[in-house]
Each structure stands twice: as structure tokens, then as C-alpha cells.
């Protein structure tokens, strides 16, 4: 497809679909968590109400320039990840702006939003923000180790740093998925995934009831609306990342929605079963089992 305008149009349409799926998914997951606690829970469309309400607040105050830029950086991290992520294999229209080395770029974008948020939350000046940021960065450093090792292992396996190539190599039935051809990398990656999604037991950054909500403590109104929008996009894109790497990608929107739901559900499932770790438990946990699995994945590739 040569026409950049049409490509851009489809990318924006894809972003719209992903945003809506992210919001509905968040609603469904809230419902599931509520049912585990024997509650009826919030309606599935509650995230939409929250977003409209946040964007329609009449006042907002600022703490400085970085306070403005924090949510924007976070959003550009999420949207940037989306832009370079091929959504549907074999489709010209839904492969966004993916190119030969997109795996490396997306790994970078994953971290970019967090750094921006750290700067913005720091300017908010709330002590809980600082605690949340320090926890988040130290935890993320340890999450990245098994994740990166798993991805390097896959890159060696398929001789490629392109998502399209990695997905193409997994086509032709469930036995061709990385899940079966490279189980060690998959295990390391899926354990790291638990950390990236920020559900219990790794919800140390926002830690409800402990450091009330961590970095976004001072964020409100439209700022929080932007953060919530980004969270919806990011949750789907993270799932798509792991789907492309380990579970054979998707050839249709239905397949994408089903697979991202199941991948996201994995983190929610673990979250409702296990209580929250302390920060040193979380850090040392990532440095034990997932890291060892990651190293083994590199050795036995």
C-alpha cells in the first residue's frame, strides 16, 4: 500500500478500535474481579462514564510544565507502541507502521511512557508519587531482564527483529507457535507479562490502600482522563505484543480480540488469586524464577 494517507486513516481507525476494546475489556475484567468477590460489580460500560466525566470536569490546576507533559509522554508511549505494532498478520491495512526492526523500538517505547510519567508525577510533589515512582522504576528494571532475554531468545530462534517475520514463522497451526517451539522463552515472557500489566501481586506502583494510588495521586480532571485513555490502549497493545511474540499473532480481528482477552485474563487470574508483594519480594522474585528461565531460554535455544 503506497498511499500514506490511506495507511494513516487505517492506523487511526485501528487506534479507535483498540481504545474501545481496551475500555470494554477493562469493564469486563472489573466485572470478573467483582464476581470473584461475590459482588455484582460495576457495569461493563463504567470506563466510558469515567472517561467522559474526567474530560468534562470544569476545573483543573497545574503544578508546572512537567506536570502537563507527564500524561502526554505516557500517552505518546502507548500510542507509539501501537503505531509500530502489526495488529493482524497478512493484512496490508492493519499492520500499522511496522518495519524491519520494530521489536527494538517497541521495547524502547514500553519504557518511554514510564519515564515521562515519573518526571510529571515528581513535579506534582506528593510524597506518595515519589514512592510510587521509585517502586515502579526499580520493579520495571527487573521485569525488563526476563522479558528482554525472552525476546532475544526468540530473535535468535527466528533470525529476525521484525514482528511480521516472527508472526509469519509461527503460522501453520498451533504447534508452530513459540509457545511450543520455545517454551522456556514463553514462560519467562509470560511471567514478565504479569509485572508489565501491574495487577496484583505486582500492583506495587499504584498499590491501592497502601500508597493511595502512587504516581497519579495529584493527577485529576483531563490529566487523569489522558492517563486512563492511555491505560486502555496500552493494555491491549501489551497483550498484542505478547500475542505476536508467543501465540502466533492474529489473522482476523476476532482472533485478536479473543487472544488479547485470554492473555490479559492471565494477569487478572493471577491477580485475584495472589495478594500483593512487597517491593523487595517483587524485585527478588523477578530476579529468581523468570530470570533463570530467561537465561535457560538463551542457552537452550
Amino acid at each position: 500500500m503506497d498511499n500514506i494517507a490511506i495507511k494513516l486513516l487505517f492506523t487511526l481507525l485501528g487506534l479507535f478500535i483498540v481504545l474501545n476494546w481496551g475500555l470494554i475489556q477493562a469493564g469486563i475484567m472489573n466485572k470478573i474481579v467483582a464476581r470473584v468477590g461475590k459482588r455484582i460489580g460495576m457495569p461493563v460500560y463504567q470506563p466510558y462514564f469515567n472517561l467522559i466525566k474526567l474530560y468534562s470536569k470544569r476545573t483543573s490546576i497545574t503544578h508546572g510544565v512537567m506536570f502537563y507533559l507527564g500524561p502526554l509522554f505516557r500517552l505518546s508511549g502507548g500510542v507509539g507502541m501501537f503505531l509500530f505494532m502489526p495488529l493482524i498478520f497478512g493484512s496490508e491495512y492493519w499492520s500499522n507502521f511496522s518495519f524491519a526492526g520494530d521489536v527494538v523500538l517497541i521495547l524502547y517505547f514500553q519504557f518511554f511512557g514510564m519515564l515521562g510519567m515519573a518526571l510529571g508525577a515528581g513535579e506534582g510533589g506528593h510524597p506518595y508519587s515519589a514512592i510510587g515512582v521509585s517502586r515502579g522504576l526499580s520493579q520495571w528494571t527487573t521485569i525488563e531482564l526476563p522479558l528482554t532475554l525472552a525476546i532475544i531468545s526468540i530473535a535468535i530462534q527466528y533470525h529476525s527483529l521484525s514482528f511480521t517475520d516472527i508472526v509469519a514463522a509461527q503460522q501453520g497451526g498451533i504447534t508452530h507457535w513459540t509457545m511450543w517451539t520455545n517454551p522456556l522463552a514463553t514462560a519467562a515472557g509470560m511471567l514478565a507479562f504479569l509485572g508489565t500489566m501491574g495487577h496484583s501481586p505486582f500492583d506495587l506502583v499504584k498499590a491501592p490502600n497502601e500508597i493511595p494510588i502512587g504516581p497519579p495521586t495529584e493527577y485529576h480532571s483531563t490529566f487523569l482522563g489522558v492517563l486512563r485513555t492511555n491505560a486502555a490502549i496500552l493494555h491491549v497493545v501489551e497483550s498484542v505484543l505478547f500475542m505476536n511474540l508467543f501465540f502466533g499473532g492474529a489473522t482476523s480481528w476476532f482472533e485478536l480480540i479473543l487472544k488479547t482477552f485470554l492473555i490479559y485474563f492471565w494477569s487478572v487470574f493471577v491477580g485475584v488469586v495472589f495478594p500483593r508483594f512487597r517491593i523487595e519480594q517483587s524485585v527478588s522474585w523477578f530476579l529468581k524464577v523468570p530470570l533463570i528461565l530467561g537465561i535457560l531460554a538463551i542457552i537452550f535455544i
Binding site: R39, M42, Q46, K53, T59, P208, Y219, L224
Partner: protein
């Protein structure tokens, strides 16, 4: 020392709010007056609602997403945890607890208000972003209830901050609170829950009332 003099007059000034000189990271000595530099004391403004159709849509979403500030002011706050459990499940109505005043839109005054707490209530209320709503629980907030002649509690809450919904009882049960939330929803949908604007309009009257009760007023007139 200024603090000791203040204490003699039975007034307390927070040492953090004293004027002082600070060595900046550049090696420069800067004078800081926390009351002026750390707070913005601009008066609140009236924010007119948007046009009718849009405001109706926005109010509908605001009514369905009530974020409650988790701040228990009196004995009624013990009812709030049970409100969120599986038996009463306020989440069904879009009621969620938020730990910070910045993000919350509903303030539950749960029962009697000591003068000391009133000060914190005013500060938290002013830090909430508009539109904001107040639900007052129990007879203590209506007329003082069993504390009507106490030396240290206020009697009528709506002298100090505008109240949207009163839930009567001593204490109101969680069911009554759920009914109160639904009443608040109706009020918001009808466009009558404009407490924040009322507060801005009658700001001087509210401030005079507050200062009459709070003797050791050591904060700006409007916190942000």
C-alpha cells in the same frame, strides 16, 4: 520566637508555614513565605454550565461515575467499608472510592464534625475539582444531633460548605446511604447539584462562618 508567642495566645502556627530562608541547590539563599509561595489563594470562580443539551449528557455521565473521597470524619465512616462489600456493593451504582481529593467528586461527611476536622474538611473540599458534591450523613450534620451542645462540634454543616444530600439517621444504615447516592444521582441529572458554584457565589459568607468557628486559622483563604 513567633511560635511561642502564638502558643501563648492559644493559637498554633504550623512550623512548616513559617517564613524562612532556604539554601537553594545553586548556592543561593532564597526567602520563602509558604503561605504565599506554596498556595494559590485566588478566590474560586463561578463556572457556568455548558449549554442545555451538552450539560445534560455530561451530567448523566457525572451521575454514573461518583468517585467518593475516602475521608471518614465521624463515627459514620464505619458504615462506608461495609458499603463496598458484597452485601451492599455500592460499585453497582458506579460509586468508587478514591484516596485523594484531587480525583474525587463526592465528599461524604460521615457524622459529627469536630472543629479540628472541619478545618481539614474545608481544605479537602477546596482541593476537589469542580463539579463536586457533598453527602452529609446522620442527624449530627443536620442540627448537631446528640452533640448539639458540645463545645467542640459544629451543629449545622451547610453553614460551612454547601450540602447536596442529607441522609438522616443515627447512624444511617448502608441501605440508606445507597438511597442517598441515588437521590444525589437524580439531583445531578436534573442539573441541581451546583454546590461548587454556590460556594463560589457566597464565598465571603461561607468564609466568615468558617472563621467564626475555627480560631486558629493558619491556612490561606482558598487552598488552590
Amino acid at each position: 520566637m513567633a511560635i511561642e508567642e502564638q502558643n501563648k495566645k492559644n493559637k498554633f502556627i504550623d512550623p512548616d508555614l513559617e517564613k524562612r530562608e532556604i539554601l537553594s541547590p545553586d548556592g543561593e539563599i532564597i526567602k520563602i513565605d509558604p503561605m504565599k509561595d506554596y498556595f494559590c489563594d485566588a478566590k474560586p470562580k463561578v463556572h457556568e454550565p455548558a449549554n442545555k443539551v451538552i450539560e445534560k449528557f455530561l451530567n448523566w455521565s457525572r451521575a454514573n461515575s461518583l468517585w467518593v473521597l475516602a475521608f471518614g470524619t465521624g463515627c459514620g465512616s464505619i458504615e462506608i467499608p461495609s458499603l463496598m462489600t458484597s452485601r451492599f456493593d455500592a460499585n453497582r451504582f458506579g460509586v468508587q472510592m478514591r484516596p485523594t481529593p484531587r480525583q474525587s467528586s463526592v465528599f461524604i461527611i460521615s457524622g459529627y464534625l469536630a472543629v479540628k476536622t472541619l478545618k481539614r474538611v474545608i481544605r479537602s473540599y477546596e482541593q476537589m475539582q469542580e463539579p463536586r458534591y457533598v453527602v452529609a450523613l446522620g442527624s449530627c450534620t443536620v442540627n448537631g444531633g446528640m452533640y448539639y451542645d458540645s463545645y467542640n462540634t459544629i451543629n449545622r454543616l451547610d453553614y460551612y460548605i454547601p450540602v447536596d444530600v442529607y441522609v438522616a439517621g443515627c447512624m444511617p444504615r448502608p441501605e440508606a446511604m445507597l438511597a442517598g447516592f441515588n437521590k444525589l444521582k437524580e439531583r445531578i441529572k436534573a442539573g441541581r447539584a451546583e454546590g461548587a458554584n454556590e460556594y463560589a457565589e457566597k464565598f465571603d459568607w461561607y468564609k466568615a462562618n468558617q472563621k467564626k468557628i475555627i480560631k486558629d486559622w493558619n491556612m490561606p483563604d482558598y487552598n488552590w
